[in-house]
C-alpha cells in the first residue's frame, strides 16, 4: 500500500517569515496535466504595503553590509539553489517546461547569482570616479542604492527572470519587493525557502504571489518604492509610468511583448546594477 504524501502549503516569503495573504485569499495552481497542485496566496495591496514596510526595515542594515559580505551572501544563495536544484527543476516543470529545460533554467539561475556575487565589490570601482574639477577641491562620484525596488517578473522563466531582476538590485544594497509570475508562481514559493537559508537578512527580498491587475497600481504609486524594474505589457507600462510620476519614481520597464532570452549572457549586466543606483557627488576643499 502506497503512502499518502504530505503536501506542502505554499506560503510567501515576506520580512523573513513565511506568510499567507492577510486576506486569506488563495488561487488554485494546476500542474501541466491540469491536475490540482496547491493553493497559492493571492496577495493584496495590503500585503504589498506590508512587504514594503519589511523592506524598509531591512534596507539600512543591508546597505551597510560590506560589499564582501553581500557577495558571500549572494554566493550562498547560489549554493542553496544548487543543493536543491532537482526540487527547483520539478517546480519549474509544473508550468510545462521539459525536465531538461527546467534544469537549464535552474543552472542559469545559479550562474546568474554567482555573476552578481562577484560584482558586489567591483561595480563601485567601475561606475564611480574622481572628477578633476578646475578648482582646489577633491571631487568624487560614488554610487548609492536607491532604496526599495519594486520588481514585477514576467510569466515566463518563472525562476530565472525573477532572479535576473532581483539580483542586480540587491547586489548594491537595495531591498526588493517582487511579484512573481502569476501563471507559474510555485518556483518563487520555493525560492523563498532558499532565500531563508542563504544568510540574506529577512526583508531584503520579499516575494509576493498574486495578480498584476490587483497590485500594479500600488506598485506604481507607493512612495517608498523608489524604482520599478518590471517586464510588463503596454497597458501596464502606461499605468506604472503614470503612477510613478507622482513621486518621480524611476522606472525600468522592459516590454513583455518582446522576446527575452533570459538564458543569454545579455540578460545580466553592470547596467542592470546601475539602473537601481543613484550617483552622489561630494565636493571637499583641498587645503590646510
Amino acid at each position: 500500500m502506497s503512502r499518502l504524501p504530505i503536501t506542502k502549503t505554499p506560503k510567501v516569503y515576506v520580512g523573513g517569515a513565511f506568510i499567507r495573504s492577510e486576506s486569506a485569499r488563495v488561487f488554485p495552481l494546476k500542474d501541466a496535466s491540469g491536475e490540482f497542485f496547491a493553493n497559492i496566496p493571492q496577495c493584496t495591496r495590503k500585503d504589498l504595503r506590508n512587504a514594503v514596510e519589511a523592506a524598509a526595515k531591512a534596507g539600512p542594515g543591508w546597505a551597510k553590509r560590506t560589499a564582501y559580505n553581500r557577495g558571500q551572501i549572494l554566493y550562498r544563495l547560489g549554493e542553496m539553489i544548487e543543493a536543491r536544484a532537482g526540487e527547483m527543476a520539478d517546480a519549474i516543470t509544473l508550468g510545462g517546461a521539459t525536465p531538461a529545460a527546467a534544469a537549464r533554467e535552474v543552472a542559469a539561475t545559479v550562474e546568474r547569482l554567482i555573476y552578481y556575487a562577484g560584482w558586489t565589490d567591483k561595480y563601485e570601482q567601475v561606475l564611480g570616479n574622481v572628477n578633476p574639477v578646475a578648482a582646489p577641491y577633491f571631487n568624487f562620484t560614488v554610487t548609492e542604492p536607491m532604496g526599495i525596488i519594486g520588481v514585477i517578473a514576467p510569466d515566463e522563466a518563472p525562476l530565472l527572470a525573477l532572479i535576473s531582476l532581483i539580483a542586480p538590485a540587491i547586489t548594491s544594497g537595495n531591498t526588493v519587493v517582487a511579484l512573481a509570475s502569476s501563471t507559474q508562481p510555485y518556483p518563487a514559493i520555493l525560492l523563498g525557502e532558499m532565500l531563508a537559508t542563504s544568510d540574506l537578512p529577512g526583508g531584503v527580498v520579499n516575494l509576493l504571489t498574486g495578480f498584476r491587475k490587483e497590485l500594479i497600481s500600488t506598485f506604481a504609486t507607493h512612495t517608498h518604492l523608489r524604482a520599478i524594474s518590471a517586464v510588463v505589457n503596454a497597458e501596464e507600462r502606461k499605468a506604472l509610468a503614470l503612477g510613478a510620476a507622482d513621486s518621480v519614481k524611476r522606472t525600468h520597464l522592459r516590454k513583455a511583448e518582446d522576446k527575452h532570452d533570459w538564458l543569454a549572457d545579455s540578460a545580466q549586466s553592470l547596467e542592470a546594477i546601475r539602473e537601481t543606483l543613484e550617483f552622489k557627488t561630494t565636493w571637499h576643499p583641498v587645503g590646510a
Partner: protein, 500 residues
C-alpha cells in the same frame, strides 16, 4: 598694577570690537559694466541653421527685470514651427551629425567653446540684462562655465568607448530639451554639450523670460559652421515647451525646471518609449556643526542661498545649525546680510540683482507672507531697493518648524529658513525629511563626520565646507523628487546614449 590689567581685560571681553557695517552707511560709487551686449531688436526662431520668422508672425517682448524696459522681441513658436524644428533635427541626425566621426563632432564643440570665450563679456552683459543676475556672476560664473562645458564635452566625442566600460554606446537620435530661466546660457550648455558630443541632434526651448543668450549662441553656431539642424531653438512659453516634450520625433527628452512641471511631463510621456532626464526642484539643507569655522560657514550660507537671488534649484534654503552655536551663527549672518548690496545687476558691486520676473517676485512675496503669517521670526536688512524693476530683500526666517511652508516648499528666491538640531542623527533626519534630494551642505572641521554625513544625506550633490560649486567634470542631479539622470561628468553622458 595687576588689578588694572584685569579690569582692562574684562572690559575688552565684555565689549567686542564693533562689526564693520557697510550697508547704506558707506555709499559706493556706481560701477556699471559698459560692454555692448549687441542685442538685436528682434530675435527669430533658429531652425535648420537659419533664423526664421514664426509661422504665426507673432512675437513677445523680453524685458529687463532690473528696470522693466523692453530689450527685444522674441519669436513666438507655434506647433508648425516645432514640427519644422524637429524635421530639421531629424534630417541633420540622419544625414550628417549621426554619421560624423567623433573627432569631427569634437572640433565643432571646441570651436563653439572658443567663440563663446571670445565674446564672453558681450554674452555676460546680455545675460544680466535679460535675466537680472548680477554682472559679476554672469561674467565670472555663467559664461565661463558654459564655455567650459562645451570644451569638456568636446573631448568626449571621440572617446565614447570609455563612457560605459565593456560596452559600446550609440546616440539616441533627436533629443527635445526644455530649460529654465535661472542660468539661461549655462543650462543651454549643460543640455547641448553632452547631447551633441554623443552624436544626437537637438530641439531646445529656452525659458520665455530669458531667450536672448540662447539665440546669441545660435549666432555662434552659425559662425562655427555647425551643420544646419544639429541644434534648433524654438521660443515661447509653457505651451511651446509642451509641444517640444510631447512631439513624436524625439527619442529622449530632458527637462530642467520645477518638480510640478516635471511630473506633468512624466505623466504626458507615460506609455511612450522616450528616455527622460529630469532635473527638478530642491530644498537643500545646509548643515552647520558647532566645530565648523563659523565665519567661513557664514560666507557659505550666504553664497548658498543668495547666489543668483536664490534662483537656484540646489540653493541651501534650509539652514540647519547645531543648537550650541545657533545664536552666534544667526548674529553673524544678520551682520553679513546687512552688507549685501541689492540693486542694479549691471553694477559690478551688486551682490543680489533683480528677481527674474514679476511672476516670480509675486511667488516669493506670497510665500514670505505665508511665512510671516505662520508666526516665524523674519529678518530683512534695511537696504534701499531701486524704484523700478523686480527686487526682493535678502530674507531669513528663524524659529521655524519643519512643517512650515517656508521649510517645505521651494521658494526659488533669496529666502533662508533656519532650523536647529542637537545631534548628528537629528541633523540627518531633518535634512532628509523632504521630498526633494538635490543637494546638501555640511560644515564641520571633522573629516570623518563629513564622510558620514555625505553617506547619509539623500542628495545627489554634497558640498563639504563649501557650497554652490559646479564643474563640467562633476555630475549634477538629484535623488527622489529632485529628478533623475545626471548632467556633467562621465555619468552625465550615460543619459544621452544607448548601449549597443
Amino acid at each position: 598694577m595687576p588689578t588694572l590689567t584685569a579690569k582692562k581685560m574684562s572690559t575688552r571681553l565684555s565689549r567686542p570690537a564693533p562689526e564693520l557695517i557697510f550697508g547704506d552707511l558707506w555709499e559706493f560709487d556706481p560701477a556699471p559694466e559698459s560692454a555692448d551686449p549687441k542685442l538685436k531688436a528682434r530675435y527669430e526662431l533658429f531652425i535648420d541653421g537659419k533664423f526664421v520668422a514664426p509661422k504665426s508672425g507673432k512675437y513677445f517682448d523680453s524685458i529687463n527685470p532690473a528696470n522693466e524696459q523692453k530689450l527685444a522681441e522674441i519669436a513666438l513658436a507655434g506647433p508648425a514651427d516645432v514640427d519644422a524644428a524637429y524635421a530639421a533635427a531629424k534630417r541633420a541626425y540622419d544625414g550628417v551629425w549621426g554619421k560624423l566621426p567623433g573627432r569631427e563632432r569634437a572640433k565643432y564643440l571646441y570651436r563653439i567653446a572658443r567663440l563663446l570665450q571670445d565674446r564672453a563679456r558681450e554674452f555676460a552683459v546680455a545675460e544680466t540684462l535679460d535675466g537680472g543676475k548680477p554682472i559679476k556672476e554672469s561674467r565670472d560664473f555663467d559664461v565661463p562655465m558654459a564655455a567650459a562645458h562645451f570644451f569638456y564635452h568636446a573631448g568626449w566625442a571621440d572617446k565614447l568607448d570609455y563612457v560605459a566600460p565593456g560596452r559600446r554606446v550609440a546616440p539616441l537620435g533627436v533629443v527635445g530639451q526644455v530649460i529654465p530661466w535661472n542660468f539661461p546660457l549655462l543650462m543651454c550648455a549643460w543640455k547641448l554639450a553632452p547631447a551633441l558630443a554623443m552624436g544626437n541632434t537637438v530641439v531646445l526651448k529656452p525659458a520665455e523670460t530669458t531667450s536672448i543668450t540662447a539665440l546669441k549662441l545660435a549666432e555662434i553656431f552659425q559662425d562655427a559652421g555647425l551643420p544646419p539642424g544639429v541644434v534648433n531653438f524654438v521660443t515661447g512659453a509653457g505651451d511651446v515647451g509642451a509641444a517640444v516634450m510631447n512631439h513624436p520625433t524625439p527619442a529622449k527628452i530632458a527637462f530642467t525646471g520645477s518638480t510640478e512641471v516635471g511630473k506633468i511631463i512624466m505623466r504626458a510621456l507615460a506609455g511612450s518609449d522616450k528616455k527622460m532626464t529630469m532635473e527638478l526642484g530642491g530644498k537643500a539643507a545646509n548643515i552647520v556643526f558647532d566645530d565648523a569655522p563659523l565665519d567661513q560657514a557664514v560666507e557659505g550660507i550666504v553664497n548658498g542661498i543668495f547666489f543668483n537671488q536664490g534662483h537656484v534649484c540646489c540653493a541651501g534654503s534650509r539652514l540647519l545649525v547645531q543648537e550650541s552655536v545657533a545664536e552666534k551663527v544667526l548674529a553673524k549672518l544678520k551682520n553679513r546680510i546687512r552688507t549685501l548690496r541689492v540693486g542694479d545687476p549691471m553694477d559690478k558691486n551688486t551682490d543680489i540683482g533683480a528677481i527674474n520676473s514679476r511672476e516670480q517676485l509675486d511667488k516669493i512675496t506670497r510665500l514670505v507672507a505665508a511665512g510671516v503669517r505662520e508666526g516665524n521670526e523674519i529678518f530683512q536688512p534695511a537696504c534701499k531697493l531701486p524704484a523700478k524693476g523686480f527686487y526682493f530683500r535678502p530674507t531669513i526666517f528663524s524659529g521655524v518648524s519643519m512643517s512650515s511652508r517656508v521649510v517645505r516648499e521651494e521658494i526659488f528666491g533669496p529666502v533662508l529658513s533656519i532650523l536647529t538640531f542637537r545631534t548628528v542623527d537629528e541633523a540627518i533626519e531633518k535634512a532628509n525629511n523632504t521630498a526633494y534630494g538635490l543637494s546638501a551642505g555640511v560644515w564641520t572641521d571633522k573629516g570623518s563626520r563629513i564622510l558620514k554625513m555625505s553617506t547619509e544625506l539623500k542628495a545627489g550633490v554634497v558640498w563639504a565646507n563649501t557650497y554652490n560649486k559646479f564643474d563640467p567634470t562633476s555630475p549634477f542631479g538629484g535623488y527622489k523628487e529632485s529628478g533623475f539622470g545626471r548632467e556633467g561628468g562621465r555619468q552625465g553622458l550615460l543619459d544621452y546614449c544607448k548601449l549597443v
